[in-house]
């Protein structure tokens, strides 16, 4: 009778953040939907109560069904029969239970049969599902591809596809090809207009496609023959009911085994153009990726939660030298740091989700009426923040989930290396989070703009200006000192006026900003709820060491040193 929502008070804490009042009011258009939809909330309390109750259902299904199925799904995996994917038995059971409970299309508007939830509670559901089974959250979480249809497709397409997502159709985003991985500009899958059939036809191969046999797919394809870069690519919807795509094989993976990673063959598969031609990569994939990156951050936090809980339970139970191993400093320090990293990545996750909610909701409102001047400014502010926080949270939380999974196995000792305990699976599942939807190295490439434009610093100053209770002041003072270190390091790197030098130090600079931001968020969380104080203190002690080490590395680094690091090929 486990409930993965009720047993985790941190989730309720983040759900009740002060900014939620505004997010919900905008999302519910001043609570005007209730006239049309019986289940729309009447006021803020009613809405929060809805999220709370629905997340309780998510927690119940995850605790009792999804978590229970994780082991057998990992052993069984999906298979290909006649060019199509058959999920593992448990995967299908999970999908059926979540569909029955109406947990697809959570963030889609009411008029498309969605629940009109803000991103925050949707991401919270992903966090919970991932804790239960990180492989399964991939299939369920691909529903956020629907947001791209909602943003850019025609009204006709929205009416055709979105209610299907709300009612349980699964999705996929078909981007990667054998020769186009991180570099999507190289995509070759051909889209040709067929005048007779009056449709676009897709031909070619896609690789590494998560849930590639999903019901509705977004496909990136070259619609402009003769072009070689991103400007010749467009976005298409492929409907599995139309046929034309077969699954050639499923990859054999290290982790997230229940999630079918497919190689797809397109043979005259009909596709519907989304939005404008040539905007596929430049605009739509970017939006799609930002949503997906936030999803991977949620997946990472869920994995961290699972790893921490397994390690904590084991350390309390396992007796060595006459006492539980959690009594030993080497173990309790490891566990406390795991908890601090977990809380840090989770608070950054929900901060980012709120930023996304604010700007996306304004963006949708702007389709209905013109925004007031202040509203427009607010939208721009939050869009800028979402743009720099998304790669930050994806990069940091996925690295942390790997570190937590590593430590969780370590705490289990030899037993952790065996398949007898769930940590072995968690360790394998964690590994992909820092790779797909852009490796950590590519998140740094996106996030470095936040460093060079001063946007992270400006946001750090905002946090600094927030009032906290006097007993938290000393934590803020350490953060101010770390911010000085960060500013000096940025200045030093920028002064060299060399892009390679910036790239060389980018990871360090982004991490410094990340540590300071997460430190501030934990201090602000502690200000609202004292139970975060331990994590705030432990995280700051850890962050100090990290920031100082990076600061020292940068202080003594010169452009001429780069040669030492380069290889002859």
């Amino acid at each position: 009778m486990a409930n993965y929502y009720n047993d985790n008070s941190e989730l309720k804490f983040h759900l009740n953040h002060p900014l939620m009042e505004k997010i919900v009011r905008l999302k519910e258009r001043e609570y005007s939907f209730k006239k049309e939809f019986d289940f729309a909330p009447m006021d803020y309390e009613d809405a929060i109560d809805n999220y709370d109750r629905v997340l309780e259902v998510v927690g119940e299904i995850c605790g009792n069904i999804v978590a229970e199925n994780a082991e057998s799904i990992d052993a069984e995996g999906p298979q290909v029969v006649d060019g199509h994917v058959i999920y593992a038995r448990g995967t299908q059971e999970n999908i059926d239970a979540l569909n029955q409970a109406g947990l697809m299309g959570m963030s889609l508007p009411y008029k498309y049969d969605g629940l009109n939830f803000p991103i925050v509670p949707y991401i919270m559901a992903a966090d919970i599902v991932s804790r239960a089974d990180a492989g399964f959250v991939n299939i369920w979480g691909l529903q956020d591809c629907a947001e791209t249809i909602n943003e850019f497709a025609s009204e006709e397409q929205k009416e055709k596809y979105l209610p299907r997502v709300s009612n349980g159709d699964t999705m996929a985003m078909d981007l990667t090809e054998p020769d186009a991985g991180s570099d999507l500009q190289a995509v070759q899958l051909k889209a040709t207009w067929d005048e007779k059939k009056h449709t676009w036809l897709l031909n070619g191969v896609k690789r590494f496609i998560t849930n590639g046999d999903g019901d509705i797919s977004l496909v990136l394809a070259r619609s402009e023959p003769g072009t070689k870069d991103g400007r010749g690519l467009s976005m298409f919807i492929y409907d599995k009911q139309d046929g034309g795509v077969t699954v050639r094989r499923i990859e054999h993976k290290m982790g997230i085994i229940g999630s079918p990673t497919c190689e797809l063959v397109f043979k005259n598969a009909p596709g519907e153009l989304v939005g404008s031609r040539k905007m596929g990569l430049i605009k739509y994939v970017m939006a799609l990726m930002n949503g997906a990156r936030l999803g991977i951050a949620a997946q990472s936090v869920g994995v961290s939660e699972a790893a921490y809980r397994e390690a904590l339970a084991y350390a309390k139970e396992r007796m060595q030298f006459g006492k539980a191993i959690i009594r030993f400093p080497a173990v309790y320090e490891m566990l406390s740091l795991m908890k601090a990293k977990l809380d840090a990545s989770r608070t950054l996750l929900y901060e980012t989700a709120r930023f996304v909610d604010m700007y996306k909701t304004y963006m949708h409102i702007a389709e209905e009426r013109s925004l007031e001047k202040e509203e427009r400014e607010e939208m721009k502010k939050y869009q800028r923040l979402a743009d720099i926080f998304t790669p930050l949270v994806k990069g940091m939380s996925s690295e942390y989930s790997n570190q937590l999974a590593y430590d969780a196995v370590q705490i289990h000792g030899g037993s952790g290396f065996m398949k007898d305990y769930p940590v072995e699976r968690i360790y394998r599942d964690a590994r992909i989070t820092s790779i797909y939807e852009g490796t950590t190295q590519l998140q740094v490439v996106a996030a470095i703009r936040g460093v060079t434009t001063g946007s992270y610093l400006a946001q750090i100053r905002e946090y600094e200006a927030e009032r906290v209770s006097p007993k938290l002041e000393y934590l803020k003072r350490s953060l101010i000192i770390l911010t000085d270190d960060y500013e000096r390091a940025v200045k030093k790197v920028m002064a060299a006026d060399d892009t390679e030098f910036v790239d060389f130090h980018a990871r360090r600079l982004v991490e410094m900003a990340g540590h300071i931001i997460m430190g501030y968020l934990l201090v602000l969380d502690s200000n609202r709820d004292e139970s975060f104080l331990k994590s705030a203190q432990n995280y700051l002690n850890f962050a100090k060491g990290q920031v100082k080490a990076h600061a020292e590395f940068i202080r003594s680094s010169e452009l001429a040193d780069l040669g030492n690091y380069k290889f002859e090929i």
Binding site: D38, F39, A40, P41, M42, D43, D49, N50, R53, V54, V57, E60, I61, A97, Q100, A101, G102, L103, M106, L115
Partner: protein, 291 residues
């Protein structure tokens, strides 16, 4: 295709599955204050069977009948969240202290008033009393056919139902004409989860008594949306013979309740050899400890 009118009998019970040391009061009665009130588990299995029939035969209705204090309206709401069409709360001081006979009588009279029923489904037994008597007694009171210990509905065709029964020593497949009463085992499939939209929609469903305590801002809603009103029936809403109700109508009298604490008297060490384990098994079966 035919549609069916189904009534699910459900009871709100104290959660006796995770009992702590203060679960019983000194006088041997249940300390309801420390045990959360829940939907009786096997009644949820019963509800699932009803909803499966409704899924298969569109147009069918599933209604819940529950008897209990005002807070038992939770049972109706819980049913609405999971897919039931509505329900009735039978509540009155006159029903207080009912044993299984008086309960069956009251439920039977309410069911007569509801009328036009094809199938009544109840859980096999409630986890507070563990009698498994109410379902069968309701069938007797109404003069209806009954099948107990149902695990699965195999076929429902026109006016005939075929089910699998789970018995102590095996399974049995039986066919029965409608209308009938079925009681469902805990081995039947678990009930589906609450549905998000139904949860958001019906969390506001209230009985008249509850409405009196409701936030005034919301009252207009209950006039606009009749589906949010949970009917509450008292003894005045059904035809009854007062001598068959509540304590008066309950022949069961509890004389005393004893606290039994099990202690280990002696222990035996047995090796892992097959013969020794077999000897132990025979001994345990002979002493009726297992089997």
């Amino acid at each position: 295709m035919k549609a069916y009118n189904i009534i699910v009998l459900a009871k709100q019970v104290p959660d006796t599955r995770n009992v702590g040391k203060d679960a019983m009061k000194a006088d041997g009665t249940i300390n309801r204050a420390v045990l959360p009130a829940i939907f009786n588990p096997e009644d949820l299995n019963a509800l699932e069977q009803a909803l499966r029939i409704k899924d298969k035969f569109p147009g069918s209705t599933v209604k819940i009948l529950t008897m209990g204090p005002g807070r038992a309206a939770d049972i109706i709401r819980e049913g609405l969240f999971r897919g039931a069409d509505g329900g009735i709360l039978l509540t009155d001081r006159a029903f207080a202290g009912s044993d299984t006979l008086a309960t069956s009588y009251a439920l039977g009279q309410a069911l007569k008033k509801m009328g036009n029923i094809d199938i009544i489904i109840a859980g096999r037994q409630a986890i507070d009393g563990d009698t498994a008597q109410v379902g069968p007694q309701v069938a007797e009171k109404l003069g209806m056919l009954q099948i107990t210990y149902v695990e699965e509905v195999i076929e429902l065709k026109d006016k005939k139902i075929t089910v699998k029964r789970r018995l102590e020593n095996g399974v049995e497949t039986v066919r029965c004409p409608l209308p009938l009463v079925m009681t469902v085992n805990g081995t039947a499939p678990d009930c589906r989860a609450r549905n998000a939209k139904r949860l958001m929609q019906y969390k506001h469903a209230k009985t008249v008594t509850e409405l009196q305590k409701e936030n005034e801002d919301y009252t207009h809603m209950y006039n606009d949306r009749p589906d949010l009103n949970i009917p509450e029936w008292t003894v005045n809403d059904i035809e009854t013979d007062p001598s068959q109700l509540g304590l008066t109508g309950s022949p069961t009298k509890v004389k005393t309740v004893e606290n039994v604490v099990l202690h280990a008297k002696d222990s035996k060490v047995i090796s892992a050899l097959d013969e020794e384990i077999e000897t132990m098994m025979i001994e345990l079966i002979e002493s009726h400890t297992i089997g």
